[in-house]
């Protein structure tokens, strides 16, 4: 029984220039106690997928259809008041740029204590204790003084730790981390991700790690879903996907990485460019760039099918 089951999620944005199909029928499951990676290039809909699960889509955006079953409850159907109990308490989210998600006029201690105060009705004293414990949990030294700091005095790494403390404050079962380390340096990135793994193990929670970096997927992920043009094109165990990628897009992406090549030799590449999200190609959205494309690729959209155990792919090449 998966923890989260997303089925046929569609989120469109109705802009002046046309309908942007940001997420267009994405399906995947997240199991308990695993790190599930959503990987894809800019504009493939990974962030919007996460925001849709949290129901944080505002006009002109709209969640058109689909299901997001969390513990057998459809997050997309329940009333907003119920959803508020889920956000932070059950599912919480870390964003890419910590400076934009922290409020500059409140101390970090106040911001961390806010959610548990609301969710658990804590007294001031209890909240403060909880806050300093959390700050210690994310390995910030000198918790009592740090809690009284404002975000601008902290470094990027510290801010991201603060964000994590905030997200962990209500013991969520599922953490959605949207490019949590993209704005950080590699040595800091390694510290933050090691911390994330440690906390994940200690609290036995699941993590959806959204990233464009295949290095992070290989290093930290258990399972991975590859997205293209708002759709999930392939899902599988990380080792399987790297050893035996099926979808031509996944294969192309892995060939683009400058590893497994002799120095200064020519890298593989995917011809063409990403299609405009307003005017996505018919049928399989990858067909204009695909070397195996046939007539049926242009006409019919392939479905996500289980090609081998736990390895799903949406491509006509593998339909039987």
């Amino acid at each position: 029984m998966p923890l989260l089951d997303v089925k046929g999620l569609k989120t469109y944005f109705y802009t002046n220039r046309g309908v942007v199909k940001a997420v267009d029928g994405a399906s995947f499951t997240v199991n308990e106690n695993e790190i599930f990676c959503l990987v894809g290039e800019t504009g493939c809909g990974k962030s919007v997928t996460a925001l849709s699960i949290m129901r944080l889509i505002f006009p002109p955006g709209k969640i058109l259809s689909g299901k997001a079953l969390y513990k057998e409850e459809d997050l997309l159907k329940i009333p907003e008041s119920e959803m508020q109990k889920i956000r932070g308490r059950e599912i919480s989210m870390v964003f890419q740029n910590p400076m934009n998600s922290l409020n500059p006029v409140f101390t970090i201690g106040y911001q961390i204590s806010e959610a548990p105060t609301v969710h658990f009705n804590l007294s001031k004293k209890e909240a403060w204790k909880r806050t300093t414990d959390l700050i210690r949990d994310v390995k910030i030294t000198d918790a009592d003084t740090r809690a009284k700091c404002y975000p601008h005095v902290l470094s990027g790494g510290m801010r991201q730790r603060t964000m994590m403390a905030m997200m962990l404050s209500c013991n969520p079962n599922l953490l959605i981390a949207d490019e949590p380390t993209t704005s950080l340096d590699v040595t800091i990135q390694a510290q933050i991700l090691d911390l994330l793994i440690e906390i994940k193990k200690k609290r036995r929670m699941s993590v959806i790690l959204i990233t464009h970096n295949f290095g992070l997927v290989a290093e930290f992920g258990d399972r991975v879903a590859v997205m293209y043009c708002g759709k999930v094109v392939e899902i599988g165990d990380v080792t399987t996907i790297f050893r035996n990628p099926l979808h031509p897009y996944t294969r192309g992406l892995l060939r683009c990485l400058p590893i497994g090549y002799k120095r200064k030799s020519k890298l593989g590449f995917i011809p063409g460019t990403l299609p405009s999200p307003i005017d996505t190609p018919s049928g399989c959205s990858f067909h204009p760039r695909c070397e195996h494309s046939t007539k049926s690729c242009k006409l019919r959209e392939p479905e996500l099918v289980e090609y081998e155990k736990n390895h799903f792919v949406a491509c006509h090449l593998y339909e039987r």
Binding site: I259, F269, T273
Partner: protein
């Protein structure tokens, strides 16, 4: 081999005004760097943000004036030349920046952007200009109908192609590439890297390739220098540096770099705590000592000099003879074995 660029004890500090009383302080962005570039090679500069790698790139092109030290370009001392006397250098060098949407003028279409360097350097004949623009456009893989477009009308990858075309418009010898693929997606990054490698072969260009991405650096560079806090800590040929890494900082940098191959996943990584220090008050002694688990008395007091620890392998560390961190970089060897 002939050196195209030679840099000696180069320093650059910026004055910043802090606080309401305007107390000014020195930010030592580059603090005593020696390096050289051979003709036709790619020198990679790796380091984290704020280590001075971009400042170094700008200094080499004399876009900014050094505080002290010496820069030679093709055996001419360019350290203190005035802007007017530098015009010949501008013709022989080019630069490509990280974010193409910010480095291209949004009000100029592609044609004017590419025409600009030619006009500045006194080429007035319309036919010559047109011919040159078309020729360069083909070289970077764009076509003629994109000439009238503006930067916002083309994709990020195409913008970077325009920026590259602009940099090589005047047939330069040296191109400084400052994180040229960092803002691009993997599939576009591969296209741009292929383009850069092809241009280097065709036009015999020398590259100073600045990046924080070690996996990219390994692919494109002949030699790599590792910078930290305005200083060079280690430099060697790419294979030597990756195969015989000595400096604890370099090892931690390599160890922190995620490698896109789950079989080389390592639980045994050398991760240092802490964060890069302030450039206004850099630590005494070795710049890395507050984060280095091997630091002892001497490291805190005496600054290590860059010495030749193995053939053509330079290192600034007091303790390299005592410590052996090679177990942590073995996964990089595996990466290389598969490649060479």
């Amino acid at each position: 081999m002939e050196h195209l660029v030679e840099v000696q004890d180069l320093k650059k500090s910026f004055l910043t005004k802090g606080g309401i009383f305007g107390k000014s302080s020195d930010v030592k962005a580059v603090d005593g760097v020696d390096l050289y570039l051979n003709k036709g090679e790619t020198l990679g500069v790796v380091g984290e943000s704020g280590c001075g790698k971009t400042t170094l790139g700008r200094l080499v092109l004399r876009l900014i004036k050094p505080t002290s030290g010496k820069i030679n370009f093709d055996e001419v001392d360019i350290t203190n030349l005035s802007e007017r006397k530098l015009l010949w250098l501008r013709k022989r060098t080019g630069m490509v920046f990280q974010d193409p949407s910010a480095s291209l003028n949004p009000r100029m279409n592609i044609r004017s952007t590419l025409k600009r360097p030619l006009v500045v350097h006194g080429i007035k004949d319309k036919n010559t200009i047109q011919k040159r623009i078309i020729e360069m456009l083909e070289k970077v893989g764009l076509n003629e109908d994109q000439l009238e477009r503006f930067p916002h009308q083309i994709s990020g990858g195409q913008q970077q192609r325009v920026a590259i075309a602009r940099a090589i418009m005047l047939n330069p010898d040296l191109v400084v590439l400052d994180e040229p693929t960092s803002s691009l997606d993997v599939s576009v990054q591969a296209q741009i890297l292929n383009l850069l490698l092809k241009l280097q072969r065709d036009l015999n260009l020398t590259y100073l390739f600045i990046t924080h991405d070690l996996v990219v650096e390994r692919h494109v560079s002949d030699r790599i220098v590792v910078m930290y806090c305005g200083k060079i800590l280690e430099s060697a040929d790419t294979d030597e540096l990756l195969g015989n890494t000595m400096h604890p900082y370099t090892v931690s940098l390599f160890s922190s770099t995620p490698i896109p191959n789950p079989h080389l996943k390592s639980t045994n990584r050398f991760i240092v705590g802490g964060e890069p220090p302030s450039l206004i008050h850099p630590p005494r002694g070795c710049r890395f000592h507050p984060r280095c688990p091997y630091a002892e008395g001497k490291c805190k007091k005496v600054e290590p000099k860059l010495v030749e620890a193995a053939k053509d392998h330079f290192l600034a560390c007091h303790k390299f003879e005592e410590i052996d961190l090679l177990t942590y970089v073995k996964r990089f060897w595996k990466l290389m074995e598969r490649l060479n």
